[in-house]
């Protein structure tokens, strides 16, 4: 989509339309990023509440509403990770956390699910953006705040790690 058409498309879109169109994507991104469906559900709600407050700052000429929502979701998720880290530090002193049964998505084999579980949050994030949500390198890089080259390198490393984990499992 050319920039002008993108602007026209985004300008015509209301917040309700954007929320309806991209809810599943934002939720899927946060599920993969946090590897926690309950947390992802809560964070998705928080993301759209924050996005509504910031909607008048959204500039259609700088990217699509979808990309912008991912950026908001990422900020919300990072805040969540920081508070979780502090909480875990406190709670691990009392009792270590229990392992919870988790599924990343429908349609994935158990081996792939297990291999995804071995990736770090950062690696799952780049796989989610580039593969699951099918963003191009430029858009994904903008969300991650890195260069497109760096984004591609991170994706290749993550996929290689996944492949190795699957080979080990086989």
């Amino acid at each position: 989509m050319t920039n002008r058409r993108l602007v026209a498309y985004n300008e015509g879109m209301t917040f309700q339309q954007a929320a309806e169109a991209h809810l599943d994507d934002v939720y899927g991104y946060l599920v993969w990023f946090t590897s926690d469906r309950f947390a992802a559900e809560e964070l998705t709600g928080t993301t759209f509440e924050r996005a509504l407050r910031l909607w008048d700052r959204f500039d259609p000429s700088r990217g699509s509403a979808r990309t912008w929502l991912f950026q908001v979701a990422r900020t919300v998720a990072l805040d969540h990770f920081r508070s979780e880290r502090r909480r875990l530090r406190r709670e691990q002193l009392a009792a270590p956390p229990e392992a919870v049964e988790f599924r990343f998505a429908d349609g994935l084999s158990p081996d792939v699910e297990a291999a995804l579980g071995r990736l770090t949050a950062g690696e799952r994030e780049v796989v989610a953006l580039r593969v699951l949500l099918d963003l191009d390198a430029g858009a994904a890089a903008r969300i991650l705040g890195i260069s497109p080259t760096n984004c591609t390198t991170r994706l290749n490393r993550a996929l290689k790690k996944l492949e190795e984990a699957l080979d080990v499992a086989a």
Binding site: A19, L23, D24, Y27, F48, F81, A105, A121, G122, L132
Partner: protein
Amino acid sequence: MSQRDLVAELRSAHVEAPDRLRQRVRLVAAAAPAPPRRFTWRRALVVAVPVVAAVAAAVVFARPASHEQQATPPTVRAAVEHGAAAQPRAASPSGALAVPSPLSRVQTVSETLSLRVRDVSGAVKRAVRVAMSFGGYATAVDAATTRTSGSADLTLKVPRAHVQAAIAELAQIGTIVAEHVDVTDRQAGLNATDRLIARLQKQLATLRAQNAPAAQIAALTQRIASLQRGEAATRRSAHYATIHLHLATPQPAAVHRSHHHGPLHGVAVALEWLGIGAVYALAIGVPVVLVLVLGWLAARLVRRRREDALLSRR
């Protein structure tokens, strides 16, 4: 499993938001107000650029040109100067000062006249001719010219009877810049000398009648002759008026150049000041900007490191 198969499987995966989340987001979205008309820089520029251009054009073209403003002052100034010079005494039709000097009295007249002329060499010749035409002569001529300027100082002797006419003609040679007239009356002194000579002559006649010594008579005779010579010299010098004439070409003033400003002179001045401001801003701003950029880069690096550490967990 190959990477291609892996990617294909990952792409086939599907994550759907639960209904309760969808309801929650719909409730949030329902609270969204109607989208206001967005302010964009492009829209602002479409309005601002023509307005700024119109204002700038109005300022530049509505402002009177500098040469129009300053066209009259030189003439006015010259008139004022000339008026001031003519104020103390009456002016002749030529514009030169006319000081009455009665011929029945012995007076020494000295006049200094400064003229602005275009051709110094021609003016010198003409001034000498004027003096000679009235029975006068030039006692000193000092002229110097270059390619662009020139000046000359002349001392002219003109019979006092024609000095007014001579001054009037000399004033025609150029424009009067300054004038000074000095008239000193010698008549009273001459009258006193006459009386002294008459008294001495009576005394001499008495001495001769009494057959006084020859030396005494000779001394008195010599004194009378000396007084008579002095009196004759004063009368001779008073016969001619002295005119000090200074001729000079107009100064090639650099100021005149600045008087002829074009309509865009204001823009040039503004740009000059903007340039000076830009140099100052660069000198002060570059180090500040450099520090800010370095600070921003350092903050970004720290933030990235922390973020990477945060996301490196499973």
